[in-house]
Each structure stands twice: as structure tokens, then as C-alpha cells.
């Protein structure tokens, strides 16, 4: 029997970046907020300190910072005709757990999406006609525009201290930045990261081909920075342990470095860790949430009543929370009806490796998570897709994030996978190879979705989330085209051999690609095609807000974090200035 606790104003599920932002703002506005985090509490000191934090076996191979999939896995299949099986070892994507969430192990790549992305369905129709799209695609507009989000993007970047070079300030193209970007109101808070040698090689080749290289926007900082919350970050030391690791230097913008200390100092906020939320509770009308039920680390069950529930989990966990709670109609791919789990999307990643002679010294180990040089000439809708037969694109960049000894071994195609010949090839190529990342969009498709697994359950007896996903043909054609462009750049750099690997189907869950799972609780203008409205408020249960990359109707050509930060500030603005003035009702446009 659950012990019933004293009612609070707000319960926040998941204290990652989104949960920290929401809690901080609402606690500061005077509301009593409880944050429920399933993982442990963590801080830069002592948890993130070296040498322990640089243990590649523990963090990279065994994925110590990730969601515990011995207790809470997902199940997966490529198609609805298959039987899904639980993913017992994370490979394709890496959802984090613990205070600070997945952002603790991010690379700090901090892009905005472009104005076009937020109105993708409308703009695609306008530019390419009504019959251009493959019939399986279910892309749609977001219900919010870039211009509406711009102040929130700005606020998020200044919270993080992002290091970059603006390409477009209020419509004025800025030399050295990305000319394709949508207008920003001001320059980045800190100057760009130092360019490494492979970035310089890429810049020279790409410029020579008429493209527009620019420094990757990085939230591993290029210089000391004090954010508007009064927290000071240090300069990144290029240790090459960002992704899959936490930063020991207070140099990577994560909740612990940019906001959590402010939140934790506010007596209106209470953090409870080790709390596994089972469901959001609804009253008999099913239109109003009464709070949540959770199980703590020693197995006791509690009911936490609250006037407002905000779920702030990683995309797949937000979807699951709504399905477990009976909020919103689950999506049925056969009929196309229902919304929860619909438009699950990902990212279409490709790689190109350029192998040089031994006189070209790359030093890949001197790396930061977002210190690359890249082009957006083939991203989004920055090039004419007429006649190409697909929408979307990818950024192409010399984005070297690490040269770590266990996992980083670039070798040319045809090299044996083990043994003497492999070792010889690793020695020969380790320090003389430039890896391009091609970070491609992912269009939502009718057949890709998430629902509850009919068979497999978690350690608490709840059904797992079942993901059904394969790359739509549109995205594979996109990868083929953009990869061919990247190979040309590799050749122009003077590489001896260029190996291009466009993403091929079927999607495999056993190979790392990226941790950019999106969709499933998408935002939009109609309850028929979205789970939450443009303020991220559940259509069916107005005192529930859902905030996460699960809100993206489809995924764009860039890393999703900065857009999620902007959406979060946008939703907070609506919560404070609209919803809480007239609570428990749908916020009208």
C-alpha cells in the first residue's frame, strides 16, 4: 500500500537538464517543487574526478553512466511483423540516468535548428509541391516558430556559455560563422573553440570547393565564463573524454555546472533520488492528474500528490511514462490513429574516413567534444532537393571528439577485424586519419513508433517500451547523396584513401550511432496529430506537461540539445505567465 505524502504544487519527473531548468524557475517563482530522480545524486566533485572518470572500460565499454538496462531496458524490432527483444546492452544510443541526466555525458555540440525545420511540412509543400514526399512520411509542423523560440535559444546558450561564431546576427551575415543559420539576436557568449589540425585541413578543402566552413558551437568552453546564474565555468583542456563521460574540470556545461547549485539552494525545491516513478495518477475523469506514484530505492511505494506534474525525461522515457499512465491515445500504425508513440524518429548518421600518409600528424587524442569544423551546405533545406527524391540533409564536419585507446581505431576497409594485420593497420593509421561526421536528419514515418511491450517487463513489473524503427527510404537516399559530397571533400584534402560509408538499412540496435532519439510525444497544433500543444501541455490532461526531445515531430540535421533547451524555456514562460495564472486548463494560443 502506497504511503500518501503531503501535496505539493509541482512534481517534476527526472532531474536532468530539463527538470533542473523547470524546477529552478518554478521554485524561484514561489512554488513548492519536488524533483524525482530515479538515479543517484552526482556532482563534479567527487563523482566526476579523474583518474576514475577516464576509465574507458567502465564508462565507454560498460557504459556506467547509462540507464540501468538490467532493470529497465527497452525492447526493439525493425518492423511490426517481428518480435521485439529487450536490449540488454546499450549500443545504438545511450540514455543516461542520475542527477543531471543524459546531458552529463554529452559532447556539448550546441546547434540551433533552422526556421525551416519548425515548419517542415508547410515549407516542403511550398517549395517542392504536394507530391514530392514519400507516402510513408508523416512529417508535420511544430506549432511553434523559430522567431518565437529565438529569445529562448539565446537564453539557453547564455546559460551554457556556448563557444561559437555567429553567422547571422539580425539578418546580417557574419564572416567566419555559418551563413545558413537563421538570424540570432547576438553573438555567442564565448569565442569559438580552438581549431585542431584536421579542422584546418577540412576548412581549407571545403572553402576551396565553395562551401562555408565554420567552427562547431561548443558547450565545452573556450574560455572562462560566468553565466547569468552566477556560476563560473572553466576552459576546456581538450582531454578527449566528453561523450560517455562526465567532465572533471567544470568546463562542460551540464546541470551540475550551470544551474543545479542554484536550484539545490532554494528551500522551495526538494530533490529525491532513487525514486522510480511508476505512473502519473489520474482522477476518475481521466482528464486531471492527481500526482504520481513512485517506488524508492529500498522498495517502499509512495504517492506524491501534486497540482501540476511535469515529465522531463529522456525521449523514450517520456513516451513510456504517458503510456503507463494512460495519458493520450496510443498510436496504432495499422490505422494511423492515436498519438502517443507516433513519429518516433532518430538521426541518420554516416561517416567518411580520410587516410593520410604518415607525415600528416593528426593527434586525435587532443580533442574536445565539439571542437570541429563543419559545413551546413548540405544540411536541412540549404540545397535544392528538386530531382533528388528526398528531403533533409546532414552537416558534414571534421568533428573529432576523441582518440581514446580502446575504442578509436580507424582502419581502411578490407583490414582484418583482429590479429597481426589489424594491429599493424591500427598503428599505421591511428595518428594519420581524419574522420568526418555526417549528422543527418530523420523524417518521421508511419511505420516507426513506440508502444508498450506485450511480453517483457522491468524490475518493477511494468511493461517495457517497445521501439519499432527502421530508416525510411527517404533518409537512406539522403545519406547516399550527402556522403558522396563528403567523399569529395576528403579527396580535396589530399587524403591517400577516402572511405565513405553512407548509412545503410536496416537500422541496427547493436552499433553506436547517436543518442538523439526523438518524437513519440510530439507537439503540434491539433490533438489528432500531437500529444502536447505548442506549450508542451498534454491535450488530454491539462495539468500534465511533457518536455523532452520526445516533443520533436521529426528530427533535423543537428544535435537536438540546444533546441530542447529553447523549448524548455519557451514552456517555462508559458507555465509561469499563462498556465499558472489559470491552472488546470488548456493554455490557449
Amino acid at each position: 500500500m502506497a504511503q500518501r505524502l503531503k501535496e505539493v504544487d509541482v512534481v517534476v519527473i527526472g532531474v536532468g537538464m530539463v527538470g533542473t531548468m523547470v524546477s529552478k524557475e518554478l521554485a524561484a517563482a514561489g512554488y513548492k517543487v519536488v524533483g524525482l530522480e530515479r538515479g543517484q545524486t552526482r556532482a563534479t566533485v567527487p563523482e566526476f574526478q579523474s583518474p576514475g572518470i577516464h576509465d574507458e572500460l567502465r564508462f565507454d565499454v560498460r557504459k556506467a553512466l547509462m540507464q540501468d538496462n538490467t532493470r529497465e531496458p527497452v525492447s526493439f524490432r525493425n518492423q511490426a511483423s517481428q518480435v521485439a527483444l529487450p536490449v540488454r546492452r546499450w549500443e545504438s544510443f545511450l540514455p543516461g540516468t542520475g542527477l543531471g541526466g543524459s546531458m552529463v555525458h554529452w559532447n556539448g555540440q550546441t546547434y540551433r535548428f533552422q526556421a525551416n525545420d519548425f515548419q517542415l511540412a508547410t515549407r516542403t509543400r511550398e517549395r517542392y509541391g504536394k507530391t514530392f514526399l514519400d507516402s510513408d512520411l508523416t512529417i508535420q509542423d511544430w506549432g511553434v516558430t523559430y522567431d518565437e523560440l529565438e529569445p529562448h535559444y539565446d537564453r539557453f546558450e547564455y546559460l551554457l556559455g556556448t563557444s561559437g561564431k555567429a553567422g547571422n546576427i539580425k539578418g546580417q551575415i557574419q564572416p567566419g560563422g555559418d551563413p545558413h543559420e537563421s538570424p540570432r539576436s547576438r553573438e555567442y557568449p564565448t569565442r569559438p573553440q580552438k581549431e585542431h589540425y584536421q579542422g584546418a585541413l577540412f576548412r581549407k578543402a571545403a572553402s576551396g570547393m565553395g562551401y562555408h566552413p565554420f567552427p562547431q558551437p561548443s558547450s565545452n568552453l573556450s574560455e572562462p565564463y560566468t553565466n547569468p546564474e552566477g556560476l563560473k565555468l572553466n576552459t576546456c583542456v581538450f582531454c578527449g573524454f566528453c561523450e560517455r563521460y562526465a567532465c572533471e574540470h567544470y568546463a562542460k556545461a551540464v546541470p551540475q555546472t550551470v544551474l543545479l547549485p542554484v536550484l539545490l539552494a532554494n528551500p522551495n525545491f526538494e530533490l529525491r533520488t532513487g525514486c522510480q516513478v511508476q505512473r502519473i495518477n489520474l482522477d476518475s475523469t481521466k482528464k486531471h492528474a492527481t500526482g504520481v506514484t513512485y517506488i524508492d530505492a529500498v522498495g517502499r511505494e509512495f504517492e506524491q500528490p501534486a497540482a501540476l506534474v511535469i515529465t522531463c525525461g529522456f525521449a523514450i522515457n517520456n513516451i513510456r511514462m504517458l503510456l503507463l499512465s494512460g495519458i493520450g491515445k496510443p498510436y496504432d500504425p495499422a490505422s494511423g490513429q492515436g498519438v502517443v508513440g507516433r513519429n518516433y524518429a532518430y538521426q541518420t548518421m554516416s561517416t567518411v574516413a580520410s587516410f593520410f600518409d604518415e607525415d600528416v600528424i593528426i593527434n586525435p587524442f587532443m580533442a574536445s567534444g565539439a571542437s570541429g569544423t563543419l559545413i551546413n551546405d548540405f544540411a536541412g533545406d540549404n540545397f535544392d532537393h528538386s530531382g533528388l527524391g528526398f528531403i533533409g540533409g546532414a552537416f558534414i564536419g571534421a568533428v573529432n571528439t576523441n582518440g581514446r585507446p580502446i575504442q578509436y581505431h580507424p582502419v581502411p576497409p578490407g583490414t582484418p577485424r583482429w590479429g597481426k594485420a589489424w594491429k599493424k593497420a591500427v598503428l599505421k593509421h591511428y595518428n594519420h586519419t581524419v574522420m568526418f561526421s555526417l549528422h543527418g536528419s530523420s523524417q518521421a514515418a508511419r511505420q516507426n513508433y513506440a508502444d508498450l511491450d506485450p511480453t517483457y517487463r522491468d524490475a518493477w513489473g511494468q511493461p517495457l517500451l517497445r521501439i519499432t524503427f527502421d530508416f525510411p527510404q527517404n533518409d537512406l537516399r539522403m545519406a547516399e547523396y550527402v556522403t558522396s559530397k563528403a567523399v569529395e571533400i576528403g579527396k580535396a584534402m589530399g587524403a591517400k584513401q577516402v572511405a565513405g560509408g553512407p548509412r545503410k538499412g536496416p537500422y541496427t540496435i547493436t552499433q553506436y550511432q547517436t543518442t538523439h532519439n526523438t518524437g513519440g510525444t510530439v507537439m503540434g497544433e491539433s490533438p489528432r496529430t500531437s500529444v502536447v500543444n505548442r506549450y508542451l501541455q498534454a491535450w488530454d490532461v491539462p495539468n500534465v506537461f511533457v518536455i523532452g526531445a520526445s516533443n520533436y515531430p521529426q528530427n533535423a540535421s543537428w544535435n537536438p540539445t540546444c533546441t530542447l533547451g529553447a523549448l524548455t524555456y519557451w514552456a517555462i514562460d508559458a507555465l509561469k505567465n499563462k498556465y499558472l495564472r489559470n491552472p488546470a486548463r488548456l493554455v490557449s494560443a
Binding site: 563534479t44 567527487p46 574526478q49 572562462p224 556560476l231 572553466n234 576552459t235 572533471e248 574540470h249 567544470y250
Partner: protein, 219 residues
């Protein structure tokens, strides 16, 4: 009075100890350093830094024996360019060519020297120093010193100098200079960022701790 005495008594952070520089046998000027036989002649350096680079506790001169050659050369280059402000060392460094500085740095990097005895520190002070060295302190947002300065503060080639066995007075004066912003030759303001968070007691504790760790890390 020879030039070396003038130099020693001129160091602001030093209590001049004329006896210490008695090893200097000839008047030292920029000219004579430059003309010294052998590009890596260390007799001038030895006047203050000791015959084997062991430094001087009493005169607050750092130990340089076994220090990273890259670090030593960067400091000499920075003294010469003015990036690190020290009138005494600037005078010496400017009189050397870049090659000579490199040779001197390598020579000291290859030296070993006995550890000098340090003033006694309290167990409480050493414990706080150990905490800062190994773990850091979330309350003041300071990461572990050893994160950059290597296992047990033994240094990281190319990147960070050793601290273990360094003179506590020297570590302390360096941290205070970073704290005040008067020393500015740290890449990315890394040391200014850290030292800026340290209170005087933290500086004293970290300095005492590392000064007493020499024999533990450099057998």
C-alpha cells in the same frame, strides 16, 4: 657586491639569503650568461636553484630538477617575452637564445636531486591538502589538483608541472599570484580559474601537502 646578491635581495617574495648564492663564482651579467661555455651551462642557475636543481626552501626558490622540459622551457620563454612577469628571471631568460633555453630545460629535466626538508605542517592542514589534491571540493568548485598534475601530483609530460616535492613557499606564491591575476601565462586561464576559488588556508594546505609528497613520488 656581486650581481647575484643584488638579484637575490631584489626578489620581492624572497627573504634574501646571501649565503645561498655563494656558489656563484663570477660576476653574473646577461653577457656572461650568454657567453658561458657550453650552451647548457647551469652554473648561473645553480646560484639560486641549487647545484642539482633542488631549489631552496629558505630562499623560496623552486625545485626544477626532474621538472618537465616542456614546462621549464615555456617558463623561460615566457620570462623572456614578458608573458610571465619576473624581473630577475626575465633578465636571465632574455640573454639566452631559444635553443639555449631548450637545452637548459632538458638538462634540468634529466637531473635528480634530494628533497629538501620542509617546515612542519599540521595533520589537519595536510588532510585538507590531500583532499584538494585527490578529490577537489565541490563547495568551492575546485577539481582535484591531480586531475591535471598527474598521479600523486607527479606531473604530466608536455602538459603540467609536478607539484610533489616542490617547495611549499613556491607553490604558495604561485597560487597567490594566480589568485591575484598577476601571473597570467596559464593556458586558458586554467590556473587563474582554480586559484581564484582558493582561500589562503586552502593555498597553504595544498602547498604544504605537495611539498611533503616528494619522496613518495620521486624515489
Amino acid at each position: 657586491m656581486n650581481r647575484a646578491c643584488t638579484i637575490a635581495s631584489g626578489l620581492l617574495v624572497l627573504a634574501a639569503q646571501p649565503g645561498l648564492i655563494s656558489a656563484a663564482t663570477a660576476p653574473l651579467t646577461s653577457k656572461t650568461i650568454a657567453k658561458s661555455p657550453g650552451a647548457a651551462d647551469t652554473s648561473v642557475c645553480a646560484a639560486c636553484h641549487g647545484a642539482n636543481g633542488e631549489g631552496s626552501v629558505a630562499a623560496h626558490v623552486p625545485r626544477i630538477a626532474g621538472q618537465s622540459a616542456e614546462y621549464l622551457q615555456k617558463q623561460l620563454d615566457d620570462y623572456a617575452s614578458g608573458a610571465r612577469d619576473n624581473p630577475i628571471m626575465a633578465n636571465f631568460a632574455k640573454s639566452l637564445s631559444v635553443e639555449q633555453r631548450g637545452q637548459l630545460a632538458k638538462r634540468y629535466a634529466a637531473m635528480s636531486a634530494p628533497f629538501l626538508s620542509e617546515p612542519a605542517a599540521s595533520p589537519k592542514e595536510l588532510a585538507r591538502g590531500h583532499q584538494l589534491a585527490y578529490q577537489g571540493d565541490e563547495n568551492i568548485r575546485v577539481q582535484a589538483c591531480n586531475s591535471c598534475h598527474g598521479p600523486d601530483g607527479s606531473g604530466v609530460l608536455h602538459a603540467a608541472p609536478y607539484l610533489a616535492g616542490q617547495s611549499s613557499e613556491y607553490i604558495s606564491s604561485a597560487l597567490k599570484a594566480y589568485h591575484a591575476g598577476s601571473r597570467k601565462n596559464d593556458a586558458g586561464e586554467l590556473m587563474r580559474s582554480v586559484a581564484g576559488h582558493l582561500a589562503d588556508a586552502d593555498i597553504a594546505a595544498a602547498s604544504a601537502y605537495f611539498a611533503n609528497e616528494g619522496s613518495a613520488t620521486h624515489p
